[in-house]
Structure formats: structure tokens, C-alpha cells
């Protein structure tokens, strides 16, 4: 394990998922014995607060406008920082109660993506809510930044979309033999996260069972993971969703965004549809 990539990073905001993000992150932290870092990010919105449509340039307008904008945002940022500190403190005590290891807090300014890229080197797994505070009202749909963040990060991302009940006991790894899936499989075999879980290796195809799953099963068995295999036929997302419900799967693991963006614009992305429809958290391995 690379020494740099050590922390479980949990992104906290004011959304309903914030608490379950903390819970899942704490679970990951105590299972893999990795320190937990809680991030609160203060976005600088491009929304203009006041607008003066007089359209003229006064003497030294540039300097005065800068001062005016700065003092306005100063007030706003102070409030946001204060709120963020409270959220972080609440998250920290919750995480410590959950048994997370070495909880630290960090607060950053800028877009979420910028902050994450800055911290990327130390991230072992990133825990995010499926929707941020901006999308509170929609019950369906994903946060605007989710896909951008997942694409930009080269680290595992755990997308949390429901309240944490208990440590997941059954996970499902969607496996199709592709490059992304193979990498995901190797990561599952290496990580201590899955040791206590029953891993359902699921292959959805149109043709008959191939030796694909046997090979993969062997690899996981070697790592000491209990494996259940299933070969399904039909529509990928629907079959996976049905399987998840029937077998009480509590975590879906998959390689993410394996194809080029162009192809996904044309044919749609499996990852994107899974993110939208999954009933349980997804762990995306990049």
C-alpha cells in the first residue's frame, strides 16, 4: 500500500446525507484501520449578490468595486465557515462514536473538485453523498458535481444514497471481464474492506456462462473472501437491481466510467444509470 494514500476522506455538507456519509466513512475507516478526514468545502458561488445596472464607470470604479465585492463576500464566507465548523464538529463526534480512527477535520475554499484534486494524493477512499444541499428537494437525480468528481478522481469513491444501518455484510461486484472490471476485482482482492463480507460476483450477459467467473472466484477465494457467483441474462441494470433486492445486497462495487466520454454520450453510461437507480451505496473503483 502506498504510504501516501492513507486517509478515508468524507465530504460533509448541509445535506440530508451528511450523517450517513459520516457513518459509512467511519465504517470504512475502522475496517481498514485508516485515519478519517472530514472535509467541508466552501463554494464560491458565481451568483452576484447585488447588481447595479447604472452602467457607468465612476472614478476608480475598479478599486471600489473590488472592495465592495470583497466586503460583501467576507460576511457571507464568515457565516459559511462558522456553519461548516459546526457541521464538522458534529461529524467528528459522530465519527468518533462510530469507532473511526484518528479523525481530523479540514475546511477549504473553492469548488469541491479543486479541493479534492488538492487532497487527492492522500485519499485512499472518498466518501460522498449522492446529492448535495443544492438538490435537497429532488428525491431522484444526482448532485450536479458527482459525475465530474468521480471522473476526475483516480481513487475509489463510495457514493452514499441512504442512511447507514449496519456494516454491510453482502456486497455485489458487477463483473464483465473488462479492463475496468478486472482492476476493480484486483482492488477488492487486495483490500481488507471486504474480508468480513460475502461477495456476490455477478455477471450479466446475453450468452451462456463463460470461464470468466471461475477465474475471478479463484482470485477472491485466495484473498480469503467468501464468494457467491451468479450469471444472469438480460438488461444489465435491471438484472443487477433485481439481484440486489433478492439477495439483500448492501453495497454495490463496480469499475466506473470505463468508456470514453463520447461513447457514453451516444450510448449512455452504465455507471451513470447505476448511480441514478441504485437503492444501496455504490463503491466505484477507478
Amino acid at each position: 500500500m502506498n504510504n501516501n494514500r492513507v486517509t478515508v476522506l468524507a465530504c460533509i455538507d448541509g445535506s440530508a446525507y451528511a450523517q450517513s456519509v459520516v457513518d459509512y466513512a467511519s465504517w470504512a475507516s475502522r475496517t481498514v484501520r485508516a485515519p478519517l478526514k472530514l472535509l467541508h468545502n466552501i463554494e464560491h458561488r458565481c451568483h452576484a449578490q447585488v447588481s447595479d445596472l447604472s452602467g457607468n464607470l465612476r472614478v476608480d470604479e475598479r478599486d471600489e468595486l473590488l472592495e465592495q465585492l470583497a466586503s460583501m463576500e467576507q460576511k457571507r464566507s464568515k457565516i459559511l465557515m462558522e456553519q461548516g465548523k459546526e457541521m464538522l464538529e458534529a461529524a467528528r463526534s459522530r465519527a468518533e462514536a462510530d469507532g473511526a480512527v484518528e479523525v481530523t477535520k479540514v475546511q477549504r475554499h473553492g469548488t469541491l473538485l479543486e479541493s479534492l484534486v488538492e487532497l487527492e494524493d492522500e485519499i485512499r477512499v472518498l466518501v460522498l453523498g449522492a446529492r448535495g444541499e443544492d438538490h435537497e428537494e429532488d428525491n431522484k437525480g444526482l448532485g450536479a458535481q458527482l459525475e465530474t468528481v468521480i471522473r476526475a478522481m483516480h481513487r475509489p469513491v463510495l457514493v452514499v444514497n441512504r442512511a447507514f444501518t449496519d456494516a454491510p455484510r453482502r456486497c455485489m461486484l458487477a463483473y464483465d471481464g473488462s479492463e475496468a472490471a478486472r482492476k476493480a476485482l484486483a482492488m477488492v482482492a487486495e483490500s481488507p474492506l471486504y474480508r468480513d463480507m460475502e461477495c456476490h460476483l455477478v455477471h450479466v450477459s446475453r450468452d451462456e456462462q463463460s470461464p470468466l467467473l471461475d477465474e475471478a472466484t479463484g482470485l477472491l477465494n485466495e484473498a480469503g473472501i467468501t464468494v457467491v457467483t451468479a450469471s444472469l441474462h438480460g438488461d444489465v441494470e435491471k438484472q443487477l437491481a433485481d439481484y440486489q433486492r433478492e439477495h439483500g445486497i448492501e453495497l454495490i462495487v463496480m469499475g466506473a466510467f470505463g468508456h470514453s466520454r463520447l461513447r457514453e454520450v451516444l450510448f449512455g453510461s452504465v455507471t451513470h444509470r447505476m448511480l441514478e437507480n441504485a437503492a444501496v451505496p455504490l463503491l466505484l473503483l477507478r
Binding site: 451568483h47 452576484a48 447588481s51 445596472l53 457607468n56 464607470l57 465612476r58 468595486l65 465585492l69
Partner: protein, 497 residues
Amino acid sequence: MLLHSTKADWFGNIRNDLLAGVVVALALIPEAIAFSIIAGVDPKVGLYASFCIAVVIAFVGGRPGMISAATGAMALLMVTLVKNHGLEYLLAATLLTGVLQIVAGYLKLGNLMSFVSKSVVTGFVNALAILIFMAQLPELTNVTWHVYALTLAGLGIIYLLPLVPVVGKLVPSPLVCIVVLTFVALLLGIDVRTVGDMGQLPDTLPIFLWPDVPLNFETLMIILPYSVSLTVVGLLESMMTATIVDDLTDTNSDKNRECKGQGIANIGAGLLGGMAGCAMIGQSVINVKSGGRGRLSSLAAGVFLIVMVVFLGPWLSMIPMAALVAVMIMVSIGTFSWRSITNMKEHPLSTNIVMVVTVVVVVATHNLAYGVLAGVLLASLFFANKVSHFLYVASELDDEGTTRTYKVVGQVFFNSADRFASQFDLREALDRVVIDLSRAHFWDISAVSALDKVVIKFRREGTDVELIGLNEASATIVDRFGVHDKPEEIEKVLGGH
């Protein structure tokens, strides 16, 4: 990559961007007309350029929320080209400018902006303000008192209207100035020069045209010098404006993408019969002040501009020039950095000289590129001079009086090499001299040859010379430092301070 933009860049601020777009479009119209007049072309050339540049840059620019259009800085460079060769050559020069700017973007020349110091930027905007003001003077000389009265009234409206509560913040005062002065001039039947007298206004949307110039070497030689100036000035003003918008909005922008974007926008302008343009400091400030932040504001400004111009064409021609002059005087006053005058008392003399020289060179040559070049060179010389003071040579004679040890501390380069050589007492009769260079930095070949000279002179006097730490001292001579962001590497090269 040039078209890449996030949803927030476009639709993060729709209502404010559209409103700001209207305000900016209203302000762009008089400016585009005024700058066309400066360049000596029909107002439609500037208006088409402003439309095209604002729209194209919305998609390809690197700085959302910045406004680009036909500008005064660029118009001033075209005057002689238009006078001697005509409009078609201006369009060809505009196309070539676009190509050169794209090349500059790919060569990442935007990074060179780091050489342009704060005082040069201040000099640039002050010079620009003075030139815009001076360009209004022909409209104010040899005219009847009516023109002065109208101009003064216009300035009164522009500056006093925003002070009225509520209404003042909702209605663009330059627009009110133009509308009121036009009606007054029409109602009273005052005979003053109008925009219609200055040349053709657009009556249709712009159409695609290839400049009607012979495609040969001779043409290239005519337009190349102009295109180079336009390229440099356009990029300089665009980079400066981008920095100003960065500061105002507390966000970052991609400067090299902006270079390429400016190039594409200018090619577009050239093909639609417009003159070359660049980012506008004043308009960008107005845009941010009006609440514009996203790409939509620039697109909206361009589209509103062309719609208003095409539909209001007959009315535009009736605007008295006095109204335009009033608006341009406001732009000039707003562009000038008045604080730089009061700041002169606190700033060091060298900084003030750089600023003033930049202004003087621009006003004398009407070319902002020369001013910036002079300012940058002067600032570099001042810097070299300052750094050369960081040189100190101490010496010590040993007990027997036969060996002297010189310790050199500081920066040795072209400017301090002579002073370095003069620190050694060559007339002293010694058996041995030790020169300890381990805390000195040799930046160039001048420093090395100065040392050589000193060593040879000592030898001629029959003194043995021993050098200590020469390798450490000359580690700084290489042009490229492999690692410059690690403290221990910097310590290795610049250690001992």
C-alpha cells in the same frame, strides 16, 4: 478543449447575466461607433466586430464574465493602415492577427505576463484613458457652443443619475444620456454633427466576406507589422483585463485559452467585415458591476447589440456626436487609475518612473505595445540595479601578513561584476590570496570573467590564488533550474542567506 465549459459557466447566473448583457450591449454601441471613428472606418465595422467578438469569445474564451469587443487600444493601431491602404487591408490584418494570437496561445505566451509589473499595468490603463480622451478632442474643437453644452449636459446625466435612489441603479445612465441628448437635439433643431455623418451604419446582419486583397508577399509585408502590434496589444489588454476580472470575481481563468480564444474571435470578426478587437477593461468592470459572471453575459451582450443596432439603425444615425463624446469621456475617466496619482507619494521613485515612462511612450507613439515594452525593460533594469546592491566582500589578513582571505557574499552578475572586481586590493604585496565564494552567486558569464580577471591580475603580481566554493557559487549560472519548488534544492543553490 477550446469549447469545454461547465454548466455553471453558462447557466449558473442566468438572470443576472442576461441583465448585465443588456447593460453592456447598450454601453458597447457608443464605444464601437467611437472606436470605428478613431480607426477611420464606418461605424458598422466596429459594430460588426463587437457583435462577432463578444459572441465568439463567449464560447472559446478562457475567462467567463469578461467582455471583449472592438477597442480603442486596437483602433489606434489601425489608423495609418486604413488611411494608406483601405478597409480591405484592415480586414486581412485582422485575420492575420487572429492567426498570430492562436499561435501565441499554443506557445503559452500568456505566461509572459508575469514580466509585466503592476506599475506597467497602471501605466497601460492610464495611457489608454488618456488616448481615449484625446481621441474625443477633434469633436470638441472648432465647434459651436451647442456641442459644449450638450456634452456637459450629457456628463451631468451620466454622473448624477446613478445618485437618484432606486431608479439610478436600474437604468443605465449612459443610455439615458444618449436618448435625452438625441431628443433635445431633434426637438430644438440644433445643427450638430451626428453619428450618421460619420459613415455607414449597419442595416443588415453581417455577412461572410473574404477580404478583397491580392494574396501575395507584398500584401503580407503591408499587414504584418500592423498584425504584430495588434496581436501584442490585444493579448496584453486581454490578459490584464482577465486578471482584473479574476480579482473581482475571486476565481481563476485559463490565460492561454484566452489567447487562443481572442485569436478565433478576431478571425471571426475579420470574416464578417469587422475590425480587430480584444478584451475591454471598462466594459468588463461594468459587466461585473451589473452582476454578470458567466459566459452567457458576453453572448447576451453580443446578441442584444446586433439586434438593437439592426432594428434601431435609423435612430442611431441621429445621435449627436456630443452624446458619444460624453460617454467616451466617462469611459476615459473610469479607466484612468486616479489612485495611482495619490499613490505616487508613497511608492518608490523607480516604480513611479516606470509608470510615467509607460504612459509617456504610449502617448507619444499611440502604440500601447511600445509603452509596455519600455516599461518592462525599465522595470527590469531597476530590478537588476537593486539586486546588484546585494554584494559584499570582506577580507582578513592572517597573522604573518602574507595571506589575505576574501569572503564574497551576494549576487554577482553583469551589473555588479565591475563592483565585484574593484573590491580586491591588487596593489597589496602578498604571497597568497584565498577567495571564498561559497556564499556568492554567479548568475552569468560576466561574473565568471570578472573573477578570471581578478585571478589573473593577482597572479601577475606574483600572488598565488586559491578559490574556495567556486562550484557552489556558479551553480546558479545554468539557465534552467531542474527543481525550483523544493526548499532543499533552493537551499543548495542559494544557501547561506
